[in-house]
């Protein structure tokens, strides 16, 4: 799903070089979780 409002972890990491060397295994699932929370909330408004 390509969208300017939905960012995969890989896309996010590329835009945020400050995360280089930070603990990706705990950061990635958190960033992904809130992308999905917003996706589900937005879609929930139209179904």
């Amino acid at each position: 799903m390509k969208s300017k409002y939905y960012t995969t972890w890989e896309e996010y990491r590329e835009k945020h070089p400050e995360l280089e060397g930070k603990p990706e295994k705990v950061i990635a699932p958190k960033i992904e979780k809130y992308e999905d929370v917003m996706f589900n909330f937005i879609l929930g408004l139209v179904l």
Binding site: S3, Y6, I42, L45, V46, L47
Partner: protein, 384 residues
């Protein structure tokens, strides 16, 4: 292990067996009455209780204690706070306290191409401001409104979830994890083009409708995905438009992306429960093609024909007419339950649910009395 924990394990096993194609020890039972019904039945004000969800705990407790059921009787509650914050025109609270969905149109016919190119972006940029007036604002205001709405949504559902968890633990009930999604064609109809709009579009812009259904399919798959798919969870898909379509239109516009949606969810290792709304009898051969053990709750139809056609492959449910609880006496209500058990239990794939959810109480309490009698009957006599 406590008795309640054992009961919960037993109930979970019923659903594990049912959803994996094995005949369970007995027919699992789900109370068709919802939390809205319970709020009214136990004398609470429906509007107030939905705004202040914490006060539902004693209601929910009594409801689970007094009406036999294997699963939490919550229903598809739409809590009002976040809809109010968003200025919703799509879901509004009526004067009786019920949340209602007026016919709305978030997508204009001349916008199909833009929508098809990037449906999620189009929904956020164009559809939401039309359907939610507080989002029709400058970016900073929109961000603030959205933040408040998400917080209200999260808080209310966290409160309700905690009540549900405590009550389930107390009464040993099963609480399947459920996601909600839609058949792509229904999604295009419900909030985007409306019943009337989509019915006209399939004649005026047929290829754009096909392309739009294909464009939203990945969104519907993603929306239906459970965080951790397991045998007790399912994706719930209420089916709307097919009974109002000609079969050749159904085959062209509805079926291809709907079938792919169910297949993709099954590949992820999760169950799908279809709420087969209105009359799907002419589409039974299509339903047969869906992945094995798809759960199908029927609103209408001949249960004998459905059992014959689908009962060796899919999980069957529904059919029990809730209007009978209002019009019939106790014996008639129980006879109907017995009739359905006699027809559907021999498939080994029957889950007792009614044809519709019950959201309103009656003044003399007849519905509740008949409902309790039916649930007790099925709970006690629903052996395979």
């Amino acid at each position: 292990m406590t008795d309640i924990k054992e009961l919960q394990n037993e109930r979970e096993q019923l659903f594990r067996d049912l959803f994996s194609g094995k005949a369970p020890k007995r027919v699992p039972v789900t109370n068709p009455a919802t939390l809205e019904f319970a709020i009214q039945y136990y004398g609470e004000d429906l509007a107030e209780a939905q705004w202040d969800i914490a006060r539902c705990e004693p209601v929910f407790d009594k409801f689970c204690q007094e009406f036999p059921t294997d699963t939490s009787p919550v229903g598809s509650l739409r809590l009002p706070a976040f809809y109010q914050i968003l200025g919703s025109k799509a879901i509004v609270m009526g004067s009786g306290g019920f949340m209602q969905h007026p016919e709305v149109m978030g997508l204009m016919p001349e916008e199909y191409d833009e929508f098809i190119a990037a449906p999620y972006d189009f929904i956020i940029d164009t559809v939401l401001p039309r359907l939610y007036t507080e989002l029709d604002a400058e970016p900073s205001k929109k961000a603030m409104v959205l933040a408040k709405a998400v917080k209200a949504f999260s808080d209310d559902w966290a409160t309700l979830g905690a009540i549900r968890d405590r009550t389930n633990a107390k009464y040993g009930m099963v609480a399947p994890v459920v996601s909600l999604t839609e058949a792509p064609f229904d999604f295009m109809a419900d909030f985007l083009r409306s019943f009337k709009g989509i019915s006209s579009d399939i004649r005026r812009y047929p290829e754009k409708v096909v392309a739009a259904c294909e464009a939203v399919l990945p969104l519907m798959i993603k929306k239906g995905k459970l965080p951790n798919p397991n045998i007790l969870g399912f994706s719930f898909i209420p089916l709307h438009m097919a009974p109002y379509m000609r079969e050749k239109d159904f085959a062209k516009f509805y079926w291809p992306t709907f079938k792919t949606l169910v297949e993709e969810l099954a590949v992820m290792g999760q169950k799908v429960q279809l709420f087969v709304e209105h009359d799907w009898m002419r589409y039974l051969d299509y339903l047969y093609e869906l992945p094995e053990n798809t759960i199908m709750r029927f609103e209408y139809g001949d249960p004998k024909v459905v059992a014959d056609k689908l009962g060796k492959k899919h999980v069957l449910s529904g059919f029990y007419p809730v209007t009978l609880l209002q019009t019939g006496d106790k014996a008639q209500c129980i006879d109907k339950a017995k009739e359905l058990l006699d027809i559907l239990a021999p498939t080994g794939r029957y889950w007792f649910q009614a044809d519709k959810s019950i959201i309103s109480t009656d003044s003399d309490g007849k519905v509740a009395d008949n409902l309790r009698a039916v649930l007790e009957y099925v709970y006690t006599n629903g052996t395979y």
